[in-house]
Every structure is written in C-alpha cells, then in structure tokens.
C-alpha cells in the first residue's frame, strides 16, 4: 500500500518536473502581470514576441548542435555578420571592380545570399570540428571572433542605416521581416515555421535519428554506419543558417544593420536550449522545450525591464535561473533513473 502511494507521489513529482519550464513560464507571467500593469498589454506582448523569436530561432539551431554533444558559440557573431551582409547589399550593392559595375539585388535574393553565407560559416565550423578534430567549443569560439571581425570590417564599424531600399533599384521591402501580419510579428511566424520543420526533421526522419544517436553514443553510431561527420557538418550548417536568418530579422526590425548586434546572444540561445531540457552532454532534447525556454528568457528580460529593474540585477537573476534549471534537470534525471530501477526490480 505504502509502496504504491509512494510510487504515485513520485509519478506526480515527475510530471511536475517534466513540465517545470512551462510552470516557471506561467509563474513569471503571473508575477510580472501583478508587478507591472504594462506587462499584459498588446504592445508589451508584441515586443516580447519579437525578442523571443530571435532567441527561439537561434535556440533551435543550438538545440541540434547540443544534442550531438557539441556547442556553437559563433551564432551571435553570425547574427551581426548576417545583418551587415544584408544591409550592405541593400545600401551599397555588390561592386564588381573588374567590370566596373555595381549590382543591386532584390530583397528575396539578398535573403538567400545571407542565408548561404550563414550556411557556409556553419559548414566551416563543422569541417574544422570533424576533419581536424578540434573541440566544438574552441572551433566556434574562434569563428565567433572571425565572424565578428568581418562584420566590423564590412563598414569599418559603422552602421548601415535606413535599410528601406530604393524603388529605382528594385530592392525595397526589407522592413517586412520586422513588421506584423494580422497583429503577429513576422519574426514569430518565421520562428513557428522553422520550429515545425526542425521538430519534424528531428522526430520523423533518419537525419533526426542520427543526430540523437551521435549524442547518445558516437562510437556506436559510427559502428552502426551513421555518417557521423556528415551529420555533424549539416547540424552546424543548420545552426549557421538559423543565425543568418536572425541577422536578417534583427536588421529588418531596426531598419538598420549594426556590426555589434547579436553580441552575447549565443548565451541566450544556450540558455533557452538548456532551460528547455536539452542535456549538455548530448543525446536528449526537444524543439518544443527550447521554444518554451526562449519564452522564459524573453519574459525575464523584458519583464524585468518593464519593472524597472536595473540591467545589472537582470544579469544576476538570469544567471541564477539558468543554473537552477540545470540543478532541477539533474534532480529529474536521478529520480528517473531511480524509478526505472524500481520498476525493473518489480518486474523481475
């Protein structure tokens, strides 16, 4: 009797633990609604949604990377570089010296070019990690500096402002990614689309299985015939593309590209991923969890600003929340292992 009651209790605790990020999100929303009357207004929620979209998209790419057991520190810098590439192409075009002409691209073409650049940077990360056996932390740390450096070099540190394009050059409409459609920010819609694609890839395709397998047991994956290097390169490529997209959205939201934008956003992305239940040791993680994690980060950031909490206290609080989340994560894992052991003993 006592035993079954105990089991029921741990089952309830388990459910609570699994839904913990969602519960935390709920508590935060209620707290900020009471703490500041401006929190639950359309304009505030739209602002939060705009920010969440950025952390969320970065977080999705990061989730793939972390599931394979890696890390990508270069995404924040790719956001900056992506914005500078897009902004530069709109305001200055591409000057081909040998022909003495300057080509201006349409906005869709610029988006595609920027995404390709992000993909190439990601592939480079993946190649360094797989072919030269460099630890992901180091490889992407290096890339972080390189990409940020190139972002600065593009304009000598200056901002490309007023990215509205010119009718005559056929490159207007870049502001679209920062606007709202039917009251919903375009960035949030893009987040939703990417999230659905990423979740399907992870759950329903061989590619997703292989990502999980590499994180679970890389040696076994290799022996099973999984093309480990190829999958890893694709994962870093995907992260690079996500970062480039965020670069475009950021520049569009501000109608300006600043080379320092996206600084330390990789940390927000990692935080969202970890809050969402992805294990830093790899093998475990979901896209849905990361999205919820991104909301938690977004709500904390903007809620504290609305409450008038100083920027410095914001950092302290964010740091505590992240560490606390991982502590609970470990607690859940231990409990899970205990329960599995228990049911195994009962069955046998």
């Amino acid at each position: 009797m006592n035993n079954s009651k105990q089991k029921n209790n741990s089952a309830i605790i388990m459910t609570l633990l699994k839904g913990r990020t969602l519960i935390v999100l709920g508590i935060l929303v209620v707290f900020f609604s009471i703490a500041t009357p401006t929190f639950l207004t359309t304009s505030s929620l739209l602002l939060i949604a705009k920010h969440v979209a950025l952390y969320g998209i970065l977080g999705i790419g990061m989730t793939y990377v972390i599931i394979t057991g890696g890390i990508d520190l270069s995404v924040g810098a790719i956001v900056g570089l992506g914005g500078m590439i897009a902004g530069g192409l709109i305001n200055e075009g591409l000057t081909l010296k040998m022909f003495g002409v300057t080509v201006y691209f349409s906005v869709p073409a610029i988006v595609i070019i920027t995404m390709i650049c992000g993909a190439l940077i990601g592939i480079l990360n993946g190649l360094v990690i797989t072919k030269f056996n460099v630890a992901p932390f180091i490889a992407t740390l290096g890339m972080m500096y390189v990409a940020r450096g190139f972002a600065m070099l593009r304009s000598n540190g200056a901002t490309f402002s007023n990215l509205t394009g010119k009718e005559g050059l056929g490159n207007t409409g870049f502001e679209f990614f920062g606007r709202n459609i039917g009251g919903i920010p375009v960035g949030a819609i893009i987040l939703l689309i990417i999230a659905v694609i990423a979740a399907i890839l992870l759950k329903k395709t061989s590619f997703g299985w292989h990502i999980l397998a590499i994180g679970g047991n890389e040696k076994a994956a290799k022996l099973s015939g999984v093309k480990v290097n190829k999958v890893k390169i694709l994962v870093y490529m995907f992260s690079g593309i996500c970062a480039a997209i965020v670069g475009i959205i950021t520049a569009s939201q501000l109608v300006a590209a600043h080379p320092a934008s996206g600084e330390s956003w990789e940390m927000n992305a990692i935080a969202a991923t970890v809050l969402g239940g992805t294990s830093m040791s790899g093998g475990v993680g979901t896209i849905g969890g990361t999205i919820i994690g991104a909301f938690v980060i977004g709500v904390i950031n903007d809620g504290l600003v609305m409450c008038g909490v100083s920027e410095f206290w914001q950092m302290v609080i964010k740091g505590l929340v992240i560490v606390f989340a991982v502590v609970i994560d470990q607690f859940q894992r231990n409990l899970q292992a205990k329960m599995a052991l228990q049911s195994r003993n009962e069955n046998s």
């Binding site: 047991n217 076994a220 015939g225 999984v226 195994r344 046998s348």
Partner: protein, 514 residues
C-alpha cells in the same frame, strides 16, 4: 582430410596472412583464418591473443596492416562497417554499442531506417519488424522502452536482435555474447544459433566459457600472442587439449624457491568478503577473501574483467561503494581516500603507466619524489637537499639507468620508466606494495630486472601483491597465486600446485553458468 570432409567444409570467408600492427605492438602476426559456411566457428585464445582484433578486421572496424580477405573466391575490401554489412557481415560487439537515450526499435533500425516515400520514418514497420524479431528470440518487450532503462542482459539481447534484422546476413560475428546473459537466455540464443547455421549462415564465436564452446561449437581455431596455433573440429577434441594449445610451451622464467613456513609468518593484510557491485546489476567482485603475509609475494591471475584491478582499487580507496573488511596488521581500516591509504603504508604501481603512473611533463627526479614530497617539507617549502639525496639513493637502489635525473621522464625506456614508478612507490616506505601488470610493455631484459627488484624488496620484508596476465611470469615470481574469474575467487595455489594448466582452468571457472 578426405574428399568427403572437404565437401562439408565450404569456406565462406577466407582471411589470408593478416598482420595488424599497432604502435609498439603486433596484435596479429601472419594469421590466416577460414570461416566455414553454416558452421559455428570458434576462436579461442588468452587475453591479447588477437581474437577481437581479427574479428574487428573482418567486420570492417579495423583495417589490416597487410594481408587479404576474400569471400567466395573474390577479394573484398572492408573499409568500414557499412561496407562489411553490404557483404552480409554483422558483428555483435563485446562492449555494447547501443544508444541509451533511444528506444528499442530506434536502436535496432539505426542507420538502416525504413522510410515512407524516402522521407519520413516508417515507425509502424519498425515496430512490427522489431516485435517479430523479439518473438523469435522469445524475448517480448515493449518496443518503446528506452535502452538505458534495460538490464545489461536485456541490452545484450537487443544487440543480438539488431544483427538479425539484416536480410542477407551471411556471417555473424559474436564476441562474447553470453557474458551477461542468464542461463535461460543462453539456451534461447543457442537454439537460434542452430537455426541460423541450418539456414546457411556462418557464425564466428568468441567465448571465455570453454564448456559452452564444446556444446555449441563446430570448428575451433586457437590463437596465441597474435599467432595462429592450431585448429580442429570440436568433435575431435576436449577441454584439456584446448587449454594445452592456449598455454603453449614457450620459454619460461626460472621459478624462485623460497623455503619459508608461511604459516609462522605474521599476517600483514587480511581482506574478508570483499564485494563490489557492478552498475547495471551483478558484481565486479563477489565475496573475495584473502590474506598476505609479511615478505610474501601474492600473485593475482585472471582474465580481462575478472576483477583483478578492482581489488587494488578497493584497497586504495578508489571504490567507496565496496563492502567487506580490510584489515592491516589486525586492525580494521575504514578506507576513505588514496592519500590516507598511502599514509597507512600502501603503495600502488598502476596498470597504465603512461596515463596513471608517470607525470609526462615532469622530469625523472620529480616523478620519483612525487608521492613522498611531504617527507622533505621544511615549513612551506621543500628541502631540496633532502629530496635530492632520497632520489639519488633510490635511483641507485633500483638500478635506474639514467645519465641525469633532471632529464624528462619520457627520455627513458619503458622499463626504466616502470622502475621510476616502482621507486616512487617505495620512497613512501610502504608496508604493502601493489603492482598492477608491472611488466606490461617492457622488454625481456627490463622485465627480469623488475622481477629482481620485486624479489629483493620481498626478501627485505616488504609484502607485495602482483597482478599479471602472463602465466609464466606470475608463476616465476609469486609465492602464492590467487585466481579470479568473473569476480569470484576460483582458486588459490601454492608450491607445487602452481601449474599453468591449473591457473587457466581456474580462470574460466567463474563463467560456468550462474
């Protein structure tokens, strides 16, 4: 061989003159091996005989340094496991190669997924086929269970099931598949193996359970020290024949005679009912008891994974989860940490010299004095005069051949490096010295010198425990030998009982059933 016998022996895969050279060692030396079609081909050999290496080469995991592999008369190149699988070769690994974070059917179909329209995974087919295979194995299980939540034995069954999923399986390599199965599961596996061979599939089988081999095997090949020794049909041989071929008649070291009545000597170390649980069920050490007299050399012999090193780890305080009592000179110890154990008079020379024995970045002198630095302390600082004096004495005492003690440790040969590690242990003035494979990876000359040092200190009254996988060595050096098998103490031999055959037989005893 008569013509009729030849007809029965259709060769499915032929490995010709395979060499495999790792830096420093030759794992396989000119080995040729035939896999007979529809038979259970058994590979036998001691630790390091090259069985697993040969199997890895056939499964495409490792590539031979030289030699060829042919199937049905045509040469094949098995560059990786995918290539090997295309030729119908599957392997069940000794160490499990599963994904603990994924469920049963994901593990079984990893890298051979079935898809709908080449894009989305067809999990319904995965589950159906998995259930079918598990039914065949008489092993019903929820296919959605996470592998990490299964017992080791159950995981082993999944590993087996993975290989049966392949349609065009021709050769199935099983590297100790029964090591963690229950008797009942073994019976099912044997039944299945007979079904497989009846349908023309060849099985290559490695096992440490000799009786099992006599039961399931058709043809036996024996390797020793990376070389081919003998082969025969199982019906023509018996267990003693196998043991004799495994042991061989190589050169042996002179056995040292000491006429001491050990019963009269004082007992230095007494270990009672030492047990160490294994994660995932079972025991690494199961109720092991032994004692050590003053000035005695106790040998511990056993196969890989028999629990030899674990005994040292328990004594030195690296395994806090152990149970049982350890008594030093009649006093029960509460083993807490390795530095405390060193203070109490234990010293260990670890198995892996490069990783655990020496600090590669420091010089010879520093490596020698590392464990006993506190003896040379002068308040906060080291008394370098005292330290150097001790180092010089030690270098002389154990004959380390060194031009200058401030040279980097890596400038020494393996044998001299080992002497440095032993010297480091001796400088702490231990009462008990634990040596884990002290002769591994050093040449014959250095080996004899290391043995001389061990003997010399035993004569002076130091009690020593030596672990060795090399039969001839342990016989030559030990006064008494304890044999471990599968975590169980299966023998204790003294005096004239110490014979190679006895040791080998005892070292397999723990694997007989459960």
């Amino acid at each position: 061989m008569t013509d009729k016998e030849k007809e029965n022996k259709e060769v499915c895969l032929h490995a010709e003159c395979i060499d495999k050279i790792y830096p420093g060692t030759k794992a396989l030396d000119n080995v040729s091996f035939d896999v007979l079609k529809g038979k259970v081909n058994v590979l036998i050999g001691e630790n390091g005989a090259g069985k697993s290496t040969l199997m890895k080469i056939i499964a495409g995991i490792e590539q031979p340094s030289s030699g060829t592999i042919s199937m049905d008369g045509k040469e094949v190149f098995l560059r990786d496991t995918t290539e090997a699988r295309k030729h119908g070769i599957g392997i069940i690994h000794q160490e499990l190669s599963l994904f603990p974070n994924l469920n049963v059917y994901q593990n079984i179909f990893m890298a051979r997924e079935k898809t709908k329209g080449k894009v989305t995974l067809d999990n319904k087919t995965h589950i159906d086929l998995t259930n079918k295979i598990l039914e065949k194995l008489e092993f019903p299980l929820d296919t959605g269970t996470l592998i990490g939540d299964l017992r080791v034995g159950q995981q082993q069954m999944i590993e087996i099931a993975r290989n049966l999923i392949q349609d065009d399986l021709k050769i199935l390599i099983m590297d100790e598949p029964t090591s963690s199965l229950s008797q009942q599961e073994v019976e099912v596996l044997f039944k299945l193996m007979r079904e497989l061979t009846a349908s023309g599939i060849s099985i290559v089988y490695i096992s440490h359970r000799l009786e099992e081999i006599m039961k399931i095997g058709d043809h036996v090949t024996i390797l020793r020290d990376g070389r081919y020794v003998a082969e025969a049909d199982v019906k023509d041989i018996d267990v003693p024949w196998i043991v004799q071929k495994m042991v061989g008649e190589g050169k042996s070291y002179p056995r040292r005679e000491r006429n001491i009545d050990w019963d009269k000597c004082e007992t230095v170390l007494q270990v009672n009912n030492l047990s160490l649980p294994k994660s995932g069920g079972g025991f690494l050490l199961d109720n092991v008891s032994f004692e050590l007299k003053k000035g005695e050399i106790l040998g511990i012999y056993g196969l890989m994974g028999a629990g030899r090193t674990e005994i040292f780890e328990c004594i030195m305080g690296l395994r806090p989860e152990h149970t049982g009592t350890i008594m030093l000179e009649g006093e029960t110890l509460s083993v807490k940490s390795i530095s405390e154990q060193i203070d109490k008079g234990f010293a260990i020379v670890p198995e892996d010299r490069q990783q655990e024995g020496i600090v590669q970045t420091m010089n010879i002198a520093k490596n020698i004095s590392l464990s006993s630095l506190k003896n040379y302390g002068k308040r906060l600082f080291l008394d370098s005069k005292k330290e150097n004096q001790a180092i010089d004495e030690e270098i002389k005492d154990i004959h380390i051949k060194v031009a200058n003690k401030n040279l980097p440790i890596l400038s020494l040969s393996g044998g001299n490096q080992q002497k440095v590690v032993i010297g480091k242990g001796i400088l702490t003035n231990p009462r008990i010295l634990l040596l884990d494979e002290p002769s591994r990876g050093i040449d014959i000359g250095a080996k004899t010198e290391v043995f001389d040092i061990i003997n010399q200190y035993a004569e002076r009254g130091l009690s020593i425990i030596v672990i060795s996988s090399e039969l001839k060595e342990i016989i030559a050096i030990a006064d008494r030998i304890m044999v471990l098998s599968n975590g169980i103490k299966t023998g204790e031999l003294t005096g004239d009982e110490i014979k190679e055959e006895h040791l080998v037989l005892a070292s397999y005893k723990g694997h007989h059933g459960h």
